[in-house]
């Protein structure tokens, strides 16, 4: 890996702009058996809450055309167990750790954030956009006032760590939400989370997911994600982490062009754990071939002239 891949995002230096997306990479350790995770720019771990959460009943996943639906329901070990049991192991690998977290109330969001602020992690990613839990989650992400409110309060509580807010694509106008985050003091935004979808088993007549609806991810949603990152980039000045359907280096360049300063790879990790590493290598080649000395040179350089 070359220096040219180094990416400064919210003042934090990532080895490269390729981070694995929350919920698709476990606590990182699951993948450490299969790939060298220290080669990653960073890892955004599975959404953490104050208390351990068991998630939704099964079935929780279903494939759709070039996508998948999930309604895991934010199952996680809780913030304390994460810090005590997962983090020390994870820290043995030389990569940045972003902790994705959520709560059911603003107070819960603030409490988890405070705890993480004092833990040995690099950055917080606040999930206000998970479509798969009834309370909290999506409600915060689909009402701009709530988005402002929760962001403002969490940011106020943080002393050490940058705060990135993860936006929901299930809104009429993502610009409003990006703006709300910026105004409330967020250091960055990440976009997008999953689109709300559903599928039904025509033989049993039951929804494929116990939760009825679930989050749609994968290459199917990439055009929506690209559009939203583009819109957000034209609206706010804080940096954007681009997410949604990334399968190869070309997708990363596309996200860069519309305004991403770094990216997250999600569903692709399921398809082949080697994908993020391959993307990093290929991106390096692309940058050499095109004489790009840093990924930031690409950010937002889409040519809108006609």
């Amino acid at each position: 890996m070359s220096d040219r891949l180094k990416t400064v995002f919210c003042g934090i230096e990532f080895k490269n702009p390729v981070i694995t997306a929350s919920g698709t990479f476990g606590y990182g350790l699951e993948y450490a058996k299969h790939i060298d995770i220290s080669k990653l720019g960073g890892i955004s771990v599975k959404g953490i809450s104050l208390r351990e959460t068991l998630g939704n009943p099964m079935p929780r996943i279903m494939e759709t055309t070039s996508g998948m639906l999930n309604a895991i329901g934010l199952q996680n070990v809780g913030v304390y167990k994460f810090i005590n049991e997962k983090l020390p192991e994870l820290r043995k690998h030389d990569t940045k750790i972003i902790v994705n977290f959520w709560g059911k109330t603003i107070d819960e969001y603030v409490e988890v954030a405070r705890i993480l602020d004092d833990a040995d992690v690099d950055m917080l990613e606040m999930n206000i956009s998970c479509p798969n839990i009834k309370e909290g989650g999506i409600a915060f992400g689909t009402d701009p006032k709530m988005t402002y409110e929760v962001t403002y309060n969490v940011k106020k509580a943080l002393k050490n760590k940058p705060l990135m807010v993860k936006l929901s694509p299930n809104v009429t106008n993502i610009r409003v939400y990006a703006k709300a985050c910026e105004q409330a003091g967020a250091d960055a935004i990440s976009a997008i989370n999953t689109l709300l979808g559903m599928s039904v088993n025509i033989h049993t007549k039951k929804p494929h997911l116990y939760n009825v609806t679930g989050g749609l991810s994968g290459p199917a949603i990439k055009p929506v994600a690209i559009r939203m990152v583009h819109e957000a980039f034209r609206t706010v000045k804080i940096p954007i982490m681009g997410i949604g359907g990334i399968m190869d280096w070309r997708d990363v360049v596309e996200f860069g062009l519309v305004g991403a300063s770094a990216v997250q790879v999600g569903t692709a990790n399921f398809i082949d754990p080697e994908i993020p590493l391959k993307i990093i290598d290929d991106l390096d080649k692309y940058m050499i071939d095109n004489n790009i000395s840093n990924f930031s040179e690409l950010t937002g350089t889409v040519d809108l002239s006609r």
């Binding site: 698709t24 990479f25 929780r60 999930n70």
Partner: protein
Amino acid sequence: MKGKVVKNQQLNDKYFFLEIKSEEFVTQAHVGQFVMIKPGSQNYTHDPLLRRPLGIADVKDGKFSLVYMVVGKGTKLLSEFHENGMIEFSAPLGNRFTLLENKRVALVAGGIGIAPVYWLAKTLKNRGCVVDLYYGGRTVDDVVLLEELKENTDHLIVTTDDGSAGIKGYVTLPFKENVETYDMVYTCGPKPMLRTVSEICINADIPVEVSLDERMACGLGACLGCIIYVKEGDEIVQKRCCVEGPVFDGATIAWDKLI
């Protein structure tokens, strides 16, 4: 990982036997484990998107085998692989069966559940076990590889729901009659069958290992899409089928939460 297709043989209307050459993989695999396999040769198309889990049905001479049933687009694409084509997979994944030596064991397989049982039978036989295989299917088309299975078992009892092969009726019936005679039971197949086999074993106080089959996205323990509910003492806890399984102690499975 990549391997070369040595053979992709159609066994009957539904079933295929796929043999893949892959030296690096083969030495690490254990009986009961599975592979996540890419159901298309093309990295540049994304439908189907996810890899498909398939039990390892045999390992020998630097090759491994899979037995699969065509049920949807992934397995249909798999069936179109040509010899010498390269195929991608992650493997070996999951835990394994407990392998006894010199004991009397029963294997109970239903339909495509034969895949991991095939290798299990061979292995236990090689370890000096007396191996009885109870193998049930809906029709004659759901019981495959009978010649090979006969060679690797002491008794092969075949049943079909419609009597088109072997004894007519459920495979659990002949098994139940003999359950007391075994030191250990292994089973793989549809969930209702697995439950019945487990209950028979619990009643007879015989240990039983069950290979479970849940829809999987990652196969690596990351997505939490493949949860199995298991009793631990008074509690019911969650296990990931892909990492803590697919083989579970049949006496601990919380069937009511699964079926």
